[in-house]
């Protein structure tokens, strides 16, 4: 027994010592082609530790606590901006990123609103927040002209009451659900006025009984398996659900629509924490990801648009040709972006969200 314990200790210590050769990446769940991870290890000889999360809030808690142990993390643009202000990231050394020339200026211009000069981050993927529906079931319940491309579907209690039995999931992400309800009310979705934000409470309280769950990753499988009818979720996740359902050939047809009233556009950015144990390895990883073929492989797999112009020639038609992923000019005009809340408004927003979720 003692010898096992001893050798175990040695093994643990040895593993600790080996960490210089490790790159630790913390990315969103269901967000990469896993073959790329093996390819990275084979090409660079570095060992990759790849962990996943499904909430910006959780990531930010780890970033602000410090000592997360990760070398690369992937916050969404608004959260990235807050965390840059808090001093959580280090500036990128662009001399170590020769592939940075592949990036797309159209996206870079937008991400520069959050990270001026794109000094701290590179764009990984971007997308919209919208509606995923099980087309067959929703039309069966609400009729052929069901508003599957409108916020009426999920924010109008008359529709929600009918859909409840079939199952509706919402994202557990206040910074996306509050702007969505504001858009529905005809207010500025990026409003930072607590009184305006408070108006969304009424919207959610009437539909709260009809929402089965607030969760930010379970809906992919739930939609694909036909367990739920509607999910308010992220574009690529819902398209992955569509794909899984098609592969399973289970008769479930999933569709994604950005709401016609306007959809939120967001950017997931890769950045290096200020206390990353292996910043050198982090740069190697970022450069690997910015390779045109690697980035294309990731997008082809997860159905999200990326910020890499050179990758576009390697994208399959299903991705580059789908306006739900690469929106046309008209749709692009209808997308909105938001900015981070100051701390006192943040408290109002998160408090409101707790109240909505618990239904009290």
């Amino acid at each position: 027994m003692k010898t096992t314990l001893f050798s175990l200790t040695v093994a643990v210590i040895a593993a600790g010592a080996a960490s210089a050769e490790e790159v630790r990446v913390y990315n969103w769940s269901d967000y990469i082609d896993e073959e790329l991870l093996a390819k990275f290890e084979a090409e660079t000889g570095l060992e990759l530790v790849y962990d996943v999360f499904d909430s910006n809030e959780l990531l930010e808690t780890k970033m602000l606590a410090g000592g997360s142990g990760y070398d690369v993390v992937v916050p969404t643009s608004t959260f990235l901006q807050r965390q840059i202000m808090a001093g959580a990231f280090q500036k990128l050394d662009k001399t170590k990123l020769p592939n940075i020339g592949n990036m797309w200026d159209v996206v870079e211009a937008r991400t520069a609103q959050y990270d001026p000069g794109n000094e701290y981050s590179i764009n990984y993927m971007w997308g919209t927040t919208g509606l995923g529906v099980n087309v067959g079931k929703v039309k069966e319940i609400l009729g052929e002209d069901a508003p599957i491309d409108s916020l009426e579907l999920v924010l109008n209690p008359a529709n929600m009451e009918k859909l409840a039995a079939c199952g509706v999931h919402f994202l557990d992400a206040p910074t996306e659900m509050i702007p969505m309800a504001l858009k529905y009310l005809g207010e500025d979705p990026d409003s930072h006025d607590p009184d305006v934000i408070a108006k969304t409470e009424a919207v959610y309280m009437v539909i709260r009984p009809y929402i089965q769950k607030f969760h930010s990753s379970e809906y992919i499988n739930a939609l694909a398996n036909g367990d739920i009818c509607v999910a308010v979720g992220w574009s690529g996740d819902i398209l992955q659900a569509r794909d899984r359902a098609a592969e399973a050939d289970n008769g479930v047809e999933v569709a994604y629509n950005a709401p016609k009233e306007g959809a939120q556009m967001w950017f997931d950015q890769m950045a290096i924490p200020v206390d990353a144990p292996n910043p050198e390895g982090a740069h190697v990883f970022l450069n690997f990801i910015m390779d045109a073929q690697n980035m294309a492989a990731a997008s082809n797999y997860v159905y999200y648009a990326n910020g890499n112009e050179a990758s576009q020639e390697f994208l399959v038609e299903d991705v580059i040709g789908d306006p739900a992923i690469y929106p046309d000019a008209a749709t692009l005009d209808n997308l909105f972006t938001t900015t981070p809340y100051p701390p006192n408004v943040q408290r109002v927003v998160t408090r409101l969200w707790t109240k909505i979720k618990s239904g009290t």
Partner: protein, 309 residues
Amino acid sequence: MSDMTEDTDRLGALRRWALILVPYLWLLGLFLVPFIIVLKISVSDIALAIPPYAPTLDLSQGWQGLRDFLGKLDFENYIFLTQDDLYWKAYLSSLRIAVVATVLTLLVGFPVAHAMARAPEEWRPTLMMLVILPFWTSFLIRVYAWIGILSGEGYLNQFLMALGVIDSPLTILNTPVAVYIGIVYTYLPFMILPIYATLEKMDDSLIEAAEDLGCTRLQSFWLVTLPLARPGIIAGCFLVFIPTLGEFVIPSLLGGSNTLMVGKVLWDEFFQNRDWPVASAVAVILLLLIILPVVLFQRNQERQGEAGK
């Protein structure tokens, strides 16, 4: 000769001091210091920084730094807690769940402990082993297993439907019932073991004497067994009640989003709202809520002990 007695005296005094000191150091290091850190954060303000609160204590500034630091602290987070009924509702709801769960655990645990104590002596180590055995599996996995048992398509529903007891699956998962099942299951050994320990020491001849003196079995149980088992029952109830009050894992895995418990509120404040000062204030209040009844109870016990003398 006298030197030697002096030495042994000194050694004895040293030993006594060490004996007193160790538990106090233990309390200081594992209770008081963490508590003061949490208390300190609870009177700070939320900030966008690492760590996400201000002010932080900067000892390099000396006295001036300490005075500046203390001047910036205030109790506004506690005032915030009183302005919002969510917190009181969460405390009350946790209290209710903890009380009900403790009573349920006692109702299940006492008969088990009693049966174990009355079992033939050679069986007891085996029975004891059976109670402890589940601890060899991770707590998280055991709670996850209940999801598989209680869900709509789960084993329990399949079993009941196969028996023809029910026609359509019962909704148990994501309701308070599932939370109670999870708590009773998880904390049952903490109730059984202390009760078993007191019952095992009980002298069987006392019951015989009671019955000889005309007690029915029920009366002798009520008048003899129960009072003698009291210390075990109380210890078991505390061991279940206190951790249940702040329980987070069981309600978040088995309960629905409308199962309001302060442990969950605490987690949300910390990880969702990233508001460490308010989260710390909630934790301090929770601690006070737990400590007060324990201290009052201890006082009461001491007074009873003295009166007994």
